[in-house]
Symmetry: D2
C-alpha cells in the first residue's frame, strides 16, 4: 500500500482556470471503491494499492486530452513504507502527536 | 498573493519516520500570523504573500540541519494568479461547484 | 510518446549518499532498448512510450526496497504533447533557437 | 552551497509551446556569474549559494507575468548537503563510479 499525490495540469488551455479538468479527474476517482482519496488546493492524495493507483493516474492523465487539451503535465509523488502500515490518517496523526507532546 | 506547497525531507536519518521534523516545521509556521496553512499527508500548503512564504520556507529547510540532518531535500510548488484573487478555499470551492453541476 | 522525469529516493538509509541506488536504477533503464534516457544531477529523464515508461518506473521504485530500504519516495513528472512530436532534443533545440534569435 | 532544480510554467497561454518563456528565464541566469547552471529537457538545474539561487528563482517566476501570463506555477527542488561539498559534477561522477565498478 502506498500514499500518492497527483496533479494533472493541461497547458495552453487559453484560460488560466483549470477546475473543470480537476473535477473530471475527481469523477474518475469517485468510481473506484478500493482507494481513499482527498482533494487538496494543490493536488489529490490517494491511498491504496500502488498498482491500482497507477492505473487510475493513467486515466487522470488522459482526461484533459479527451477534453481537447494538446499538452498535459502530470506530477506524481509516491510515498511507500514497508516497515509499517502507513496511511494518510496515520501520517497526520503522527505529526499531531509530536506537536502536542 | 500565492498558494505554495512545501515538503521538507531529510535524507540519511537512520530511521524512516520523519514526523518529528515535520512537527518542527509546523511550529515555524504557527508563529507567523500573516499566512494561512494546512498540513496534508504529503506536505504543507501555505497561502499568503510570496516574499513572506519564501522567508518561512528557508527556515523550514534549515530546521532538519539544526536537528542534526546532513542532507535535506525540499520540494516547493508555487501557484500564483494575477487575473483574480486565488485562495486555497476558492480553489477547492471552484472544483466542488463543477462536481455538483 | 512522452518525456518523463523520475527521481527515486530511499529514506532512513543511515547515510546521506544515495548514488548506489541511483546506479541500480540506471541499470534497469540500460536493459530497455526502446527508450532514450539521460541522467541529470537531480533525476533521470526518459523519452518513449508512456506505458513502457510506467513499467520501468515501477521497477525503479521497487529497486531500493530490494536493497534493504524501508521507505521509498519516487517523484515523477510527465510531459506529453499530442499536437506535435516532442522529444528531449527538440525541446532543448526550441529553447536554444529562441536564445539565438 | 546547494543544487536546485527549477521549472517555471505559465498556464492558460493559448498555445502549448513554452520555449520563449524558458529562454527568457535562461537569460536571467546568464547574467549571474556566481552560479553554475544547465538546462535539461524538463527544467533548469542551478548550483550555488542558496540565498542567491532563491533571488534568481523569484526573478524567473515573475518573468512570464511580465510577458503577459495570468497564472504561473513554479516547481523547485532543493538538494543541500552539509557533510561534504556536493556539486552537479560530483553527483553525476559518483553514480558513474558505481556503474563502472
Amino acid at each position: 500500500m502506498a500514499i500518492v499525490e497527483v496533479t494533472v495540469v493541461p497547458l495552453g488551455t487559453a484560460e488560466p482556470g483549470l477546475s473543470k479538468y480537476v473535477a473530471g479527474c475527481q469523477e474518475i476517482l469517485e468510481q473506484e471503491e478500493k482507494i481513499e482519496y482527498q482533494l487538496t488546493p494543490m493536488g489529490t492524495i490517494i491511498e491504496g494499492d500502488l498498482e491500482l493507483i497507477f492505473a487510475l493516474i493513467k486515466k487522470m492523465h488522459h482526461h484533459p486530452f479527451e477534453q481537447g487539451a494538446l499538452r498535459v503535465t502530470t506530477s506524481i509523488k509516491i510515498d511507500e513504507r514497508r516497515d509499517k502500515k502507513a496511511s494518510m490518517k496515520q501520517k497526520l496523526g503522527s505529526v499531531h502527536d509530536k506537536l502536542e507532546s
